[in-house]
Each structure stands twice: as C-alpha cells, then as structure tokens.
C-alpha cells in the first residue's frame, strides 16, 4: 500500500512538473566589450537583474583588449557569427558600422522606451550616425583635469583654475621635489603623443575643456586651428611638450600605457582623469585617492571652462544577432535604474540622474553628480567622412613640430592650417 502511495505521489509530482509553465527556454545573451573586469562585473550584475523578469535568460559578457575587440567584432558580423550585443565608445561603433553596415537602427527601440528624459540632445546626437541610431547611450565618458592633492599641499597651491595657474604649478612640481624623494625626477604633467589619436585626444581635452567647440574642423568644413582663440590653445599645448618642459622628455613616444605609468608611478602631478579611472585610482595600490578632479584650465577670461564629455559608451545590436529580439530587450534594460546603478558603481559612469551616489567616494561623486559644466566633443568623423585621414595628417605635422620645435610657433600654426585646408579640399573632392 505504501509503495502504491509513493508511486502515486511520484506520478502526480511528475505530471505537475510537466504541466507547469516551463516553456521558457534557457537562453544566453553574449555581449562583447572592452571594459575589463569592471565591465564583466557590471554586465554580470545587470544580467542577474534582467533574469529576474526573464527566467532562464543569462547574460555572458566577454572583455577584449580594444584592438582585438575591433577585429573580432568586424569578422564575426561579416561571417554571421556575431555576438548578441556589442558595447563600446560611440566612435568605435561607427567604425564597425562603416566596415560592416550591419548595426541595427535603434530609433524604434528608443521610441519604445518611456523613461528616457535623462538623455539629452547631445547624447542622442552622438549616438546617431548617418540617420541611424547605432547605439543606445549607456554611459557618458567624462574626462576631468586631475592634480595630486599631496603635491598641491606641499607646494602651497590650490587646484588650478587658469592656464597661468597650471604653468606656475607645473614649474613647482618639476623643481620643488613634491614627492620628497630628494631627487629632481618629477614633472608637471602626464600627457601622451605617440599614436595619432593620442596627441589629438590630448589637444581635444585642452580645446573643449577651455570652452572651444572644434579642435581642427567645424561642421561646415572650416579649418579652425589658426582662429585666434584656437591658435592660443594650440600654441600653449605645443609648448607644453617642448619649451615649457612640463612633460617627461620621452612623452613624444608615450601612448596610454606609458602615460598611465607616469601617473601611477608618481612622476607627474597633473593629468587626465576619466570617470572610469577613479575607482581604480582610489585603490591604495594605485594613487590611494591622492588626487582631486576639476574642470580643464581656463584660457580666456570670457570663456567658461569645463569637464569634457569624450563621447558616449553604448550598446549596439548587430543585425545578425543570434537572439535579436531578446538582445534589444536587454539593450533597453541597460537604461533602467538597476542596470544604471551597476554601471555607475562598477564602471563609474551612467546616464540617469536619479541614481544613488551616496556609497561612492568623493572623487567618484564628482563625476556622478556632474558638478561642473560639461562640454561634449564635436565628433567631426560623423560629419566629414574624410576626417580620420585629415586628423592623421594633422597629428604627423604636430609631432614633427614637437620633435624639432620651431623658435616661433605662430608661423608653424599658420603653415599647418594652410596645409590642412589644402588636404581637406583634396579629400573632400576625392570622397
């Protein structure tokens, strides 16, 4: 009798299990990014939140070094082995779109999101390429001017507000042994110059941070570098690498890696701080939080300085995504509060304004609260298709100048502007 009851119970349980709504198929979304361990943790947490409303769905994120990310994404999309989603800076997704033409237009997806008031006009503009919304913006990339706090204290200085402040503090950082090791081995600033994007990226920060709107060319195709306000910033920028001696002499060969070595090795007192840097630099093994962030220096009394928005990081869906509908759902979910909170806490950036920032360090809060005026890049590559080639030529010209500095930079700038005008006209004609 007992056996019969037991068998009966098992039968009923099995029948109940078969009848229960388990038709939710286990699905895994794969997302490729270049955010390293912090990004992996962010997507893991967002995926776990997403799974609460989508039983059986899991999210697996894979981080590649940026250059590998490019090659893998392009080849996978072109060979129909694409991941479900990709995540990166806007301009990198543009390159993927240019190479493949297979990034999904997310305009309809954005339209279907009710809660999106936190996305500004600039955010949406940089997410759009040739009338196609290629990313949903998930993180604003903020870059501020950073200074070693203990070095400021030791030299009796405050956070620099103007370019003259920066010049004075740079000289002190170089000459007054701010790290107290008894050797003259410190520099005012850590910059980079080696690769085309390195040098122009640094110039972008000084230009946009000083309140100007275009580094090289404006949307109408006008070369801007010899306009008086621009020429002033460019000349001072070039002197920083040469006659001012504010950077290490080898900076001409420095790329990101070497620049970070100079910053983290306590060899320079002023540097770029990205919102994604802060969490790591708060760590005792890095800068131990010994830095303060603020807007880029002011070059003219009548122009407001700013923290620079270097772009938007966002999520894109390849048209041949294996689980396209679900991928779009997850992309939308990344704009939700839970995913945005994870993004803010683990990567240091988000786009929503209603996030809880209390648990963040004061340095993280500086970015999270967006305490200063923000100025965004102008993204000329989205307007002028020839821009990358023009920029590469501009970089070569500037590097040649830094390698053999002229006695007077003004004729150099005028000559460079002339060459850029001729090249832009030629490239425009050939395009």
């Amino acid at each position: 009798m007992r056996i019969a009851r037991l068998l009966g119970g098992v039968f009923v349980a099995a029948a109940a299990a078969m009848a229960s709504p388990t038709d939710v198929k286990a699905q895994q979304l794969v997302i490729w990014h270049d955010l390293g361990d912090n990004g992996v943790a962010m997507f893991e947490r967002a995926g776990a939140e997403f799974a609460k409303t989508r039983p059986g769905v899991s999210v697996r994120s894979i981080s590649y070094p940026t250059d590998q990310w490019f090659g893998r994404v392009i080849s996978s999309i072109n060979t129909n082995t694409a991941p479900d989603l990709i995540f990166n800076n806007y301009e990198r997704v543009i390159r993927i779109e240019q190479q493949t033409g297979k990034i999904m237009d997310l305009r309809a997806t954005l339209a279907s999101i009710a809660d999106k008031g936190f996305l500004g006009e600039d955010d949406l503009r940089v997410a759009t390429f040739k009338n196609k919304m290629i990313i949903l913006p998930v993180q604003r990339v903020q870059m501020a001017f950073g200074v070693r706090k203990s070095w400021l204290d030791k030299t009796g200085e405050q956070f620099p507000q103007t370019w003259d402040d920066v010049k004075r503090i740079s000289a002190k950082f170089r000459e007054s042994d701010p790290d107290g090791n008894g050797r003259a081995d410190t520099f005012g600033m850590a910059l980079q110059a080696a690769k085309p994007r390195d040098l122009i990226h640094m110039l972008d920060l000084f230009t946009f941070g000083s309140g100007l709107r275009h580094t090289l060319i404006n949307p109408d195709g006008k070369i801007m570098i010899d306009e008086p306000a621009h020429a002033q910033v460019l000349e001072e920028f070039l002197k920083t690498y040469s006659s001012y001696r504010f950077v290490a002499p080898d900076t001409i060969n420095h790329s990101f890696t070497e620049m970070y070595q100079v910053i983290l090795g306590s060899r320079a007192g002023m540097f770029r701080v990205g919102d994604w840097n802060v969490r790591g630099w708060d760590n005792a093994n890095a800068l131990g939080g010994d830095f303060v962030s603020g807007p880029w220096p002011k070059f003219a009394a009548n122009r407001d300085n700013a923290v620079v928005i270097g772009g938007m990081r966002g999520v894109a869906v390849p048209e041949n995504s294996p689980n396209r509908a679900l991928a779009v759902e997850f992309a939308k979910f990344l704009l939700g509060k839970e995913a945005q909170q994870a993004s803010l806490e683990l990567v240091g950036a988000g786009v929503r304004k209603d996030l809880n920032v209390d648990a963040l360090s004061p340095r993280q809060q500086y970015f999270a609260r967006a305490q200063h005026r923000l100025v965004a890049y102008d993204f000329p590559e989205s307007i002028h298709t020839f821009y990358p080639e023009l920029e590469a030529a501009f970089h070569r010209k500037l590097l040649a100048g830094i390698a053999a500095p002229p006695a007077d930079w003004k004729p150099f700038i005028a000559e460079t502007a002339k060459e850029m005008r001729e090249l832009a006209a030629k490239l425009r004609a050939s395009n």
Binding site: P249, N253, A403, A404
Partner: protein, 308 residues
C-alpha cells in the same frame, strides 16, 4: 648507332609513380610536415595576397569585393608609404652591416686561442639575449634610454658627457633602436660564424704561415673565403629579419618621433588597426616580394662567386 626512342608520356608517368612508390616511406614521413607547411606557412600568405585585392570594407566578408590592383596603386601613391619603404631599406642595410660586422668580430675574438679560458662565458653572455623574450628586452632598453631616469643618461651625466637623445630625438632614435636590435640578434649570427670557424681547414693557415703570409693576408685570403657559407646564411637571414623590423618599434617608439621609425611593417599594422585591410595587406605583400627578391638575389650572388 640508332638513337633510343623517347619515352612516351605514359611511360614517364609510370616511372614517376614507380619512383614515388619506392620512396613511399619517405613521403609518408614527410607528408605531415608538408601539410603543416601548406596550412600554416603558405595558406596565410595566399590569403593575405587575396585580401590585398579586395575592398577593405568587404575584406573579411564571405563575398569580398575584388578591386584588382587598386590597393597597390593607392599604396604606391602614398608618400608616407614611399618614405617608409626607403627608411626600411636604409635601416635594414645599416642593421645588417652592423649586426654581421659585430657578430663576426666577436666570433673571431671568442675563437681566438688566447680567449679559450673565458670562451664559454662570452658565448653564453652574447647568446643569452637571443633567447630572452624580445618584448621584455626592449622594455628594459626603453628604460635604459629614458631621458629622465634612464641609466644611460645617468652614466653620461656622471662622466660629464652630453645627454643622449635616445628614443625621443630624431637624431638618435635610429641608432638607439639599432643598438637594441643588435643586442637581441647579434648572438645568433655570432653562433653561425663560430660554427663555420670551427669547421674551417686549419692546415691551410699553417701552410700560409710557412709561406710567410701576414695575419691580415691569412684572414683575407684563407679564412674569410671559408666563412662564405656563414656569411651568406647570416646575410639572407639578417636581411629578412631587419626588413620586417616590427616588435622593437611597437615597444619602444611606436613609429616616432616624427615618423623616423615608421617602418613598413609598423605602417601596415597601423592601417590594419584602422580597418584598412586591403591597403595594409598590399603593403605586406609588397614587402614580402622585396624580401623574397633580395633573399634570392643574395643566394644567386653567393652562388656566382663561390670558389670553383
């Protein structure tokens, strides 16, 4: 005497098959290596040449758009590539001469009976950099050259010498890179020279000495001709090596300052990084053709001048 009838095609084919069958064990053993060579050696080269004939935007797609020689035309019209090509040829010539001269000089010193006691130590000391990972070695060289905390400038300062521009000066970067490469590669060439020196016929030198030959005459007319195999091997290998100079540039200079070390391999890599696959592989293919032509030329030259 009547001429023998020429074998028919069928007979030739049967003979070839018979020969293959007689050597079947040899072919069986060779087959895996031949397959590996084709798959991993020749196939990527063929694929690279194929990509160089396609439009970059479609290069990695299943159905690429073929553009004929357009990428080659673009590359050859690019003044930066032409400058880079000349720079590469110049640097390769300089590096080959410096490496071979240094390696030969060191090999002669180490081969000397007077240095027999420390011979093994010097061999090891000079060969060690060859087996050192190149990236690690070049990172250390970059530190040595650093103008703010590098050992070279620290020593120069102690000795009251002017500062060395190292990697950050257009005047010194080529020599700085060349020295680092010499450190890494010369041990290999030295080993080849040492092997050849050990194999030479010493009786000829004794005979020359009896005939009153001076040391210089012995080297010029007896020893150097016997080193021809090592010289040819080293010459070809070094030419190939330095025409493809890449790692040292990535680690130490990134093509700078002011393009002074922007050699063809690195320039192609930069274009590849920008997604300009067609032009990048066109550059690589042109470099490949130059390397093959120079290597074959060196072999032909050595064959033509070989002692009869």
């Amino acid at each position: 005497m009547p001429a023998l009838p020429a074998p028919t095609r069928l007979q030739s084919a049967v003979e070839a098959l018979n020969l293959a069958w007689r050597n079947r064990v040899f072919y069986l053993f060779v087959a895996p290596f031949a397959a590996l060579t084709i798959v991993f050696g020749l196939w990527p080269i063929a694929l690279s040449i194929q990509v160089s004939l396609t439009a970059s935007a479609s290069a990695l797609s299943p159905n690429p758009t073929y553009v004929g020689l357009a990428n080659y035309a673009t590359v050859l019209a690019d003044p930066i590539f032409i400058a880079s090509l000349w720079r590469t040829l110049w640097y390769a010539a300089l590096a080959v001469a410096a490496n071979l001269a240094f390696a030969l000089g060191v090999a002669i010193l180490i081969d000397s009976p007077r240095l027999r006691a420390g011979s093994m130590f010097f061999r090891l000391a000079i060969f060690l950099p060859v087996v050192t990972p190149d990236v690690a070695g070049y990172v250390v060289w970059r530190w040595l050259y650093d103008r703010s905390f590098g050992a070279i400038n620290a020593a120069a300062e102690q000795l009251g010498l002017p500062a060395f521009g190292g990697l950050s000066s257009v005047d010194t970067v080529t020599i700085a890179v060349l020295i680092a490469e010499l450190w890494h590669h010369a041990g290999f060439y030295m080993t080849i020279f040492l092997a050849n020196l050990a194999m030479r016929d010493r009786a000829l030198e004794e005979a020359a000495a009896i005939d009153g030959a001076t040391t210089w005459q012995k080297w010029r007319f007896i020893i150097l001709p016997q080193l021809r195999p090592a010289i040819v091997i080293n010459l070809v290998y070094a030419t190939v090596q330095f025409l493809k100079t890449f790692t040292v540039v990535v680690v130490m200079t990134k093509g700078g300052p002011a393009e002074r070390t922007n050699f063809v391999s690195y320039y192609a890599y930069q274009l590849f990084d920008q997604g300009r696959y067609g032009e990048a592989t066109a550059m690589a293919s042109l470099l490949f053709a130059i390397v093959i032509a120079l290597s074959l030329g060196a072999f032909k030259l050595s064959e033509g001048r070989a002692p009869k």
